[in-house]
């Protein structure tokens, strides 16, 4: 019997050629994302570091105007310390940075307790019943709702409060704390807190699902051991389960917050897209907090702007210089997001290694 290699060889070679081509196509697709990311960073970075070439001077202007370049590039130290301006070379992102910072802090304050609380209820307390199933299905649907729908919800529920408080009354709720008072306008209108609450609703499903996964990863032997030592259910959760799940929860929360930080659409509909030349609570650096502690309480009810909004505003501006300012803003935003992502990855990596149950 002859070995039928000769008969099969042409087919086999062709099949291997097709296979090789397919492998290369798949490999190329994988690299495609990396290449786009590189091109994006390079093109934006290049724009962030250069001003557009000066326009040709009109022929009739005989006196050569001397360009006074205050800064060498859009992305400079001055960019961080000045407000938005009608003169592009003097514009900066001071208000936007503080607005974004406030947003992130408030969103974290709202979303972490509620998100972790929901996850704890779903994973630790509720038994596999109808309520849990309904909440779970609802969560997966909420996670798929586009951000612009949350924006509408935020506009209706927080900015206008379903029209329960008519605007001309100008209702002001004065909350009396022990040593000072806080004026809370009702409805919230276009204040920082409306934006923060909207973003909270947006990220809550993500935070809850991530926390649930982290809680599920804690082995039940830890709970059983805690019960065996006489702890109540809440003590077990509070002192054993949540600390054990903390790295996973933190990773999820940071990723969710970085998503909230980049969102512009929800804030847009809230009406935050205005020219803002002050920071929330008039706090422009850390020492202001000690000089004017009441600013911390006023800040959530101030008008605000945020990094992605500022960038959008600059993109929409017809003057060429603003496109370069937008690039500089994008570089700042991307740097912050990259840092947050790195922190999340490091936390995950570190605890993946160290925890051995």
């Amino acid at each position: 019997m002859s070995v039928p290699t000769k008969l099969q060889e042409p087919h086999l070679a062709r099949r291997h050629r097709i296979g090789k081509a397919f492998e290369w196509a798949c490999c190329g697709s994988t690299w495609f994302g990396v290449v786009v990311l590189g091109v994006l960073l390079l093109s934006v970075g290049w724009k962030a570091l250069t001003w557009p070439p000066a326009k040709d001077k009109p022929a009739n202007s005989s006196t050569p105007t001397v360009e006074v370049k205050s800064t060498s590039a859009p992305l400079s130290t001055k960019f961080f310390s000045s407000y938005d301006s009608r003169k592009p070379r003097e514009a900066g992102i001071l208000a936007a940075i503080w607005g974004s910072l406030w947003l992130i802090v408030l969103v974290a304050l709202f979303s972490v307790p509620i998100g972790v609380g929901s996850a704890v209820y779903l994973e630790e307390y509720s038994n596999e019943g109808r309520l849990k199933r309904i909440i779970q299905v609802n969560l997966s649907n909420l996670a798929g709702v586009p951000s612009i729908v949350y924006a509408l919800l935020g506009m209706t529920a927080f900015v206008k409060m379903f029209g329960f408080f008519t605007k001309d009354e100008g209702k002001l709720l004065v909350i009396n704390l022990l040593f000072t008072t806080v004026d809370v306008p009702l409805p919230f209108d276009r204040a920082l807190i409306s934006g923060a609450l909207t973003l909270t609703l947006l990220v809550l499903p993500t935070v809850i699902v991530a926390s649930q996964e982290a809680l599920r990863a804690v082995p039940s032997s830890i709970r059983t051991a805690s019960y065996a030592l006489g702890a109540t259910q809440w003590q077990t959760i509070r002192y054993q389960v949540i600390p054990a799940a903390m790295p996973g929860i933190m990773t999820g929360v940071i990723l969710a917050l970085s998503r909230a930080m980049g969102e512009a659409a929800p804030l847009m509909l809230i009406g935050a897209l205005t020219y803002v030349a002050y920071t929330p609570g008039d706090i422009t650096n850390v020492s202001d907090i000690f000089k004017n502690p009441h600013g911390l309480l006023d800040a959530p009810f101030d008008k605000f702007t945020a990094l992605p909004l500022q960038i959008y505003q600059w993109i929409n501006h017809p003057r060429a210089e603003y496109a370069h300012l937008a690039a500089a803003g994008i570089m700042v935003l991307l740097t912050i997001l990259l840092l947050m992502n790195t922190v999340a990855i490091v936390i995950r990596h570190k605890f993946q290694k160290s925890t051995r149950w």
């Binding site: 994006l40 909420l142 991307l334």
Partner: protein, 330 residues
């Protein structure tokens, strides 16, 4: 003598029964904490209810007597069949078709680019790539997924249109390319959905058991045959679900599309002109500071409701496909 001591806690004595009914602060705290956590968990239900209430009262039927909802002013038939969307003009038309057309043309271009590339990348990562390469690539894809959509919009406007689309289509093929065009929006949308498709499809592909692949090799298949004719069909439900979720994301995408495609509602299939999507209309309408109660303001909710129903439908379909057609392996 010790036997009685051991047995007594187990037998339900009168004292034991009374102990359960007794009030204790610890038990009260447990119940309080439980109630609070239940409150947190039901907040997500409340969110859904608020969304539904908002859309019903503002878009479909108003419950308060002195206001009207969108569909009480504009008939549903006009809304669905009118071919013009011009709420800002004196001659107002509220036909959703141009916005739907813009949305689906852009999402379609995005899907044509993003779905095959995402799937191919998933196949590579799950079937071909070495573990080290995979570990390196995963964070990169995560970063790609984490880039805000404003940035993608800017990229489309300052890079894709002038340096990719115009040289190819305008210089070489002689097709006019607007500054704002649906094509550039579609291209960046395609890039944006790659991470979603890739990671979800990869999960589905990796869930296919090794035995199936080995059976394929035993029958003399090449790696290409195994990947494409065994593993992909076996993971088909997961792949379709990832496609549906990605398309639903593409439809709901706002800022990138708003920046790159412009704000010109147009009922056409030419991707090199400016188009307006549903999301972009909502942003542009909010920019003009439309006062509450006007018909433009209410149109925001009508468009939002349409978008909500479409994306919700696609998500439900994705979940259904996932559960209905999932192959369960031992």
């Amino acid at each position: 003598m010790s036997l009685a001591n051991v047995a007594s806690p187990l037998t339900p004595t009168k004292a034991g029964l009374r102990l359960q009914k007794q009030f204790s602060w610890a038990r009260a705290r447990e119940a309080g904490v439980r109630a609070m956590l239940l409150g947190c968990a039901s907040l997500s239900l409340l969110t859904t209810l608020a969304i539904v209430y908002m859309f019903l009262t503002e878009a479909v039927y108003s419950v308060t007597p002195d206001t009207t909802a969108f569909l009480q002013d504009v008939s549903l038939w006009d809304f669905l069949t009118d071919t013009e969307w011009s709420p800002q003009f004196a001659d107002k038309h509220f036909g959703i078709l141009p916005l739907l057309c813009g949305t689906f043309v852009i999402a379609g271009i995005g899907s044509l680019i993003g779905l095959p590339i995402g799937l191919a990348a998933a196949i590579y990562l799950s079937e071909y790539a070495k573990p080290k390469f995979r570990r390196m690539m995963k964070p990169v894809l995560e970063v790609l997924a984490g880039i805000p959509s404003v940035v993608y919009g800017y990229f489309a406007l300052v890079f894709v249109t002038p340096y990719v689309l115009r040289p190819i289509f305008q210089s070489m093929l002689g097709i006019d390319v607007d500054i704002f065009n649906a094509m550039s929006a579609g291209v960046v949308l395609g890039v944006m959905i790659i991470p979603t498709v890739c990671s979800l499809s990869e999960d589905a592909l990796r869930a296919v058991p090794r035995g199936l692949r080995e059976a394929g090799y035993a029958l003399g298949s090449t790696k290409y045959d195994v990947s494409l004719k065994v593993v992909v069909p076996a993971a088909f439900s997961g792949i379709v679900a990832s496609f549906l979720l990605a398309i639903s994301r593409a439809i709901g995408e706002t800022m990138a599309v708003c920046i790159a495609a412009g704000q010109m509602p147009r009922l056409s299939l030419n991707p090199f002109r400016s188009m307006e999507t549903m999301t972009a209309y909502m942003v542009s309408a909010s920019l003009g500071d439309t006062p509450a109660g006007t018909i433009e303001y209410k149109s925001l909710y009508a468009v939002g409701f349409t978008l909500f129903l479409i994306t919700l439908g696609m998500n439900i379909l994705a979940n259904w496909v996932m559960n209905r057609f999932r192959e369960v392996y031992e």
